[in-house]
Amino acid sequence: MSEHRALDDMLGRPWRKPHFIQSPALRWSLIAGFVAYLIAAFLTIEVDLGRVYQGLDRGWQFVLSFTRPDFVSRWSDIWSGLVESIVMTVAASVVGIAISIPIGLGAARNIAPLPVYVVCRAIVAISRALQEIIVAILLVAIFGFGPLAGFLTLSFATIGFLSKLLAEDIEAMDRVQAEAIRASGARWMQWINYGVQPQVMPRLVGLSMYRIDINFRESAILGLVGAGGIGATLNTAFDRYEYDTAAAILLLIIGIVMALEYLSGIIRARVQ
């Protein structure tokens, strides 16, 4: 009845859009807090408008350089950096995916015993909390400059990403199928192979493709801290204000990422 009364009360009044946050007190305190934060943030950011104005010209030069990218004059540097990036991506993706499958199995509560689960979840949490670039800095300090540090960084990052999502997928799987395999007297390995794997395989392939894409994008910045790849070449190009070369490298990165996305779209459509 109360609903009807509310409807009666509303008759004859113009309709007003309901608010996204219902409670007015919460709404206004959120807005006030947000505005206060914005004011504080703007007050503490120092923007040197003169410097920005000076730079606009250089920015325009950079935008223009995209219309005439220079692939030729530094081609050997670009090529070796690009090959190193791709090599790191492929090797790290293979090793990372291979390691993340057992860890993903261990991090799924419905198939792993508690001690294994805790250890695997801890590995996933550590790998996810540390960013690539920080791991790369530490690994470069430990293993020296070069693609090995980049390869290890990307493998480590792949483990955290893929194991977590794989474990979530395994936890959401249909138990009935797995139980049917177990009831036929299958060993543990056969149970995983015939009961669990077919259910999670399409998603695993899709996620792996996505991760290869991410690994390539990340490999482009690892060079900034000396961990190999195209990043070092790009950094040098920026430092020397050779925007034509930088534009060429960025176009190559964008092109490869687009190609990878297109490829992964096709593969994902086929396995699903």
């Binding site: 950011i45 923007v47 920015g59 190193e84 430990i142 090995l148 994008r217 900034l224 960025l250």
Partner: protein
Amino acid sequence: MPVADANGVKIWRRRTNRESLVRWFGWLIGVAVFLYCWQQISHATTWFFVWDAPRIAGDIWERATPPRWSYLTQLGRPIWDTLNIATLGTIIALMLAVPVAFLAARNTTPSALIIRPVALLIIVSTRSINSLIWALLLIAIIGPGVFAGVIAIAIRSIGFCAKLLYEAIEEIDATQVEAITATGASRWQVMAYGIVPQILPAFAGIAVFRWDINIRESTVLGLVGAGGIGLQLQASLNVLAWPRVSLILLVILAAVVLSEWVSAKVRGAII
């Protein structure tokens, strides 16, 4: 069903001979590519340093512990800067991503032939370049500092937010839009009353999700000079002040975990 015929006895097989041969070749090529890549990496590596690595790692660990807690008092301002870079960057990115998303979504774009590809190009190109590279570029253009970091984060986030947002717009319920249109509403009224209420929860979710990622990314922007706690990290690394480095890494870790917790809570409350 592939069946092998062995002396008159039929045996079930999972794949035909041809299929297994193709698979075998696929694996062969895959393994060969991997081995080639590994050889390249190994060729570019100084293996002496790798064998020496456990000793170096132990050495660094010894130098880095315990963290210099007294340095914490000097980290307040960098953390505030980092928070500002992430938050202001996210806000600017969202303001730019909304129009791009409406132009990119198949059901709201004014022209599927010309404007949609341009919007998609903006999304792909901003998404495929890391914020560190944007920061590197912006520092050359507008000088080092927090402002360059804010803009770098903003540009990088446009593609991500616009992509998720336009997918949400394409999934809206068309009947509600039709109902608003049937009342004689203008194009903008249809947007405001038919489309926006449907994507508002997705929008809030995307905003918080991206903010969480941006906190992560803005902690390292300082490595190239774009402000935030990364500046302190870079300075400490340069003078090999390992106790300070370990403290900064702990602070970054805490910030990342905290922001992920906040984002998960807020998203849980919205959705």
